[in-house]
Symmetry: D2
Subunit: 338 residues, 4 copies
């Protein structure tokens, strides 16, 4: 961490700042400049609050040299993490596809789609039981009943299931769920992160639609610092100044960037990112090419009747066709489909 | 709502769409164009899911003519709403200043600041007991103990208190809190909104740092549709592509825009928006000039020692000086300071 | 085009608006709603100014159903355009790689890099002679002398050359340049577009770093409406709210989106988008996977000594390694490398 | 400037970097850290290219401590600059209002509006002769003929005139224009900046709609480094992720931010920023409250018939009403209307 002091510094205040920094376990290197003084902090700065230091009136600016995340950082954990969900592995060359409907609607729908995506090569089944909707008047999901339907699909097909949790008070309904999803709108719902971390299940952490990569990794750090190392990241599009043709902008460069910063596996959700069925295949292949460890794809047996987000769902035959092309790309990049 | 159909529409599918729309209580006006057909929907469209209609394959696009919010809309409630917090009124010419520390730290701090901001003219006391922090290693607030300290300040000064709630499970600690704050990161934590709405207290709803005005009003609609009409909106800066000199960009045009769309009172938080103490006064005066119904200002007796966000806190004498200038502007615009 | 009128419309004003619209060659369909009236415009609306109509006080909103670009639109030109630069073809399955230094520095540098990129498989040579720099104190390029060096490289290697033009007054120096590049900062320099269009050379039109896809295609329309059909689009990253780890955010979904809207070829520049040498290979492969028709890659023989943008330049051996992987992906997607 | 070196640095490379930095006139302070080495550069770093240093492979990051602009900086020029346009002063307490139509259309229109805005208190007349339009099919302005009409208005009313220049080749038509406007889309048209600077006239430099404050001041630096000190900055709204209710987002906090960084006067254009006539008054008062040195307001005698941007133009009586309120605010903040 580097602290730049304003030119007209007052000696007692500077001494007091330096003493405080040392009391926090830092070694402090001082460089006197023509217009300002620079303090270089050496030691574990991840617990130092930059805002606090900024507030000292002799300080001009503070910049971090090392990242504020530790458990998620590749620096302290160079090997790729592999997260196991049931028998499916994600990360370090293991590629996983999770597919299913945006919203669970009824038993026939769930079982039909589950069989279809399994046949096409998905290894995890995803479906929404609790749905975060912008409008209070929109369908809010079947809740516990929806989870029960997902469990039926799991029993019949053997696929582990992934579904979103929006409130820690619902955790008691998630006993038979294999992977808990934290949605984009809850990425910084820190109370939810803390409580979900305590349950010993893999977590799929979606990137907030306007979260920075650093904030996203800090939210992973919340999960990991509470004792849960099984975190998979999911890029699902960010909000930019152009939203005429796609709902969000899929940030594919986040995949190699996160791969350099962190050892955690990262997958891509092209369905929510684009909001357009006709772009899902292209962006899925792009995701594989840039190094994603998996995909999350919306599939619906009757996309035009889906209760939410139907515009982005693939029909089962479109999904099967995508899987055929995806296999070629996964192999071409030396990875293995679960 | 206007639905544009693709040029090559298939008659049975179109008939089926129109029947479904009518079954939802809509009147449907059909305009045949050279390249497409346009359906005009007449009736209460606030419960129609545009995503669902988009997903029908003969549909090219859907656009709303009326806003999707109803209870928050000025169309159905032309008069300005006045929200009462204790004896303080907010809205319709009543201007309220809420001030206090970002984080509650200890009794001496809380009481000192409370007395100072009351003396300077604040009518509500705000302080953080539960703090949403990007890093799990940063100070997370004193929790229940912090609320108890706020209640002491209320008893001593008579000022109603405002503090943030992050988890509905904490609601039992908020009995003596006068106004519940929903923070920017939880603006779309819909489960929290639903449960907070059920408690019969005024709510201060901060705008998410990348939420659209429409999403913000839809979150207000969540609170109102659960039966709570006492909602005050708070603009606190949005994230833009330039964050070198200010933490976020204070969107002051949101004040008159919301004033035209909604009858709810709206206030401004220049402290979090700018993150800079030296900009708080200018932006407070700007907020008054554009029509804000109040201000939320961070004040700390020792800004350089604040446990969080100190860089943006005013010292009590700076706050008093701001209040003097604010009074002139409030009067000049024909409003009344509580 | 759909015009929504406010509820309380005044009959003579409405009549006058409808007459004016008809005088512009439009057919007007009227739908009377409960709260407003909707006018559907049928005919060629590309020359109708939506701003003008918005300004009429009885109008609530105007929305386009068809796109405002015509010559660039796939609707009126369904087949993919192929642009020829010298003997290199770009578009419709023809994939082209243009490579070279950000800035032309001296003859040895230019010739060394040109030979290296040709040997590795590039078919076009790019280099900057006129450089747009944020700072007036930064190196502004060699200008005409730089173009002369590029021409030497062309004579020696046979590769056509691509270089940026910043001022129409320089056009007289570009006689032997094969393709004129319009940079991101000049994408809406309409006077430059008009004058460059008049020279009968292929144009590479970079997307502005905060331009929408529609604005970009409208700038292509400027070139085409002046009589130049040989336009290649180049995605080079957009500015978003997160710029900590990459300079801009490469918008790869723009590739299939533009492919559906327009018949023009589109290529990708991963060097400027990311600003990071270590991300260029991943993002190049991603670009091929999503359907790009080519790549523009910065290559420098001594990247650490480049006079500008060196942090993003590949060394020749890195470029050769990228080309090997790129070939596999280009073939896997059924395209042909020039 | 602070340069952070990667942990595993190679001694000869480091020596060579330090020597080069010294050869550029820098003093270099070295701090050895546990994981990295930090170089503090002392001296005039405004001509050092950070990109160049970033490209050296032993470098992890480079951050500037002082700003890259010099002539525009308040550090080296503490007093407020006053720019004179004819007899009108802008800056240091002198407040100027420039008003007029977006596009010059004909003599009657120009003279009618000019007389009206002068009567209401405007001190400068603005009108567009050359118009940057997104579409090649939209009205492009009257060009030279438009300038002649502005000059007529100047002769009749005595108000100095301000109009946009889009191409340096047109400069010969601007002899009798008092202030040259550089539009948002040309803020980084560096060739135009260089050539406009050479003409000895005040320049109004609009902020690009997605330019950072630093880039904007660097464009001012282009003008100043070519010898023109008479630069007035104009904030006109930036592009953000929400554009449903306003065309752009007026960044009013830029006013005090620029006021701290630079001595140059800064004004606000609420008409283009919001694109809505009904928001112009609120945002004008907000601009005065935050410290703007002036306003640029669109006024049209028949706003509903304006050839462009009519939706944001005020009618003369609306402008007169705004001026009455503005006077009160200008006086309340101790400034003087020209």
């Amino acid at each position: 961490m580097i602290i730049t002091l304003k030119s007209n510094q007052n000696t007692p205040k500077r001494e007091s700042l330096i003493s405080w920094l040392k009391s926090q376990g830092m070694r402090v290197e001082i460089s006197e400049g023509e217009h300002q003084t620079i303090l270089g902090l050496i030691g574990d700065t991840s617990k130092i609050d930059t805002d606090l230091i900024c507030s000292v009136d002799i300080v001009e600016s503070v910049s971090r040299v090392s990242e504020p995340f530790k458990k998620a950082s590749r620096k302290f954990h160079p090997d790729n993490t592999v997260v196991k969900v049931g028998s499916t592995r994600i990360g370090n060359g293991h590629f996983a596809v999770m597919a299913g409907p945006c919203s669970v609607e009824n038993e026939a729908q769930v079982l039909t789609i589950a069989r279809a995506v399994k046949a096409a090569g998905a290894s995890l089944f995803r479906g929404g039981a609790y749905k975060p909707r912008t409008s209070p008047y929109a369908f809010q999901g079947l809740g516990k009943e929806g989870i029960d339907l997902l469990i039926k699909a799991k029993k019949e097909t053997g696929m582990p299931i992934v579904t979103e949790i929006m409130d820690a008070a619902h955790l008691r309904f998630f006993d038979d769920v294999d992977m808990l999803q934290i949605g984009a709108r809850n990425m910084q719902n820190f109370e939810l992160l803390k409580q979900v971390a305590k349950v010993n299940k893999p977590v799929l952490l979606k990137r907030g639609m306007n979260s920075s990569i650093e904030e996203w990794l800090m939210s992973a750090e919340y999960l990991m610092s509470e004792g849960n190392p099984n975190v998979v990241l999911c890029e699902r599009g960010i909000r930019t100044t152009d939203s005429k043709y796609t709902r969000n902008t899929l940030d594919l460069s986040a995949i190699p960037v996160v791969g350099k910063l962190s050892h955690l596996p990262i997958i891509v959700d092209p369905s929510h990112a684009t909001g357009r069925r006709d772009l899902v295949e292209s962006m899925s292949l792009g995701a594989i090419a840039v190094g994603s460890n998996g995909l999350q794809i919306e599939v619906h047996n009757q996309p035009e009747k889906a209760l939410c987000d139907g515009a982005q769902s693939l029909a089962p035959e479109q999904f099967a066709s995508l899987m055929t092309k995806a296999r070629t790309f996964i192999q071409a990049t030396g990875r293995e489909l679960n």
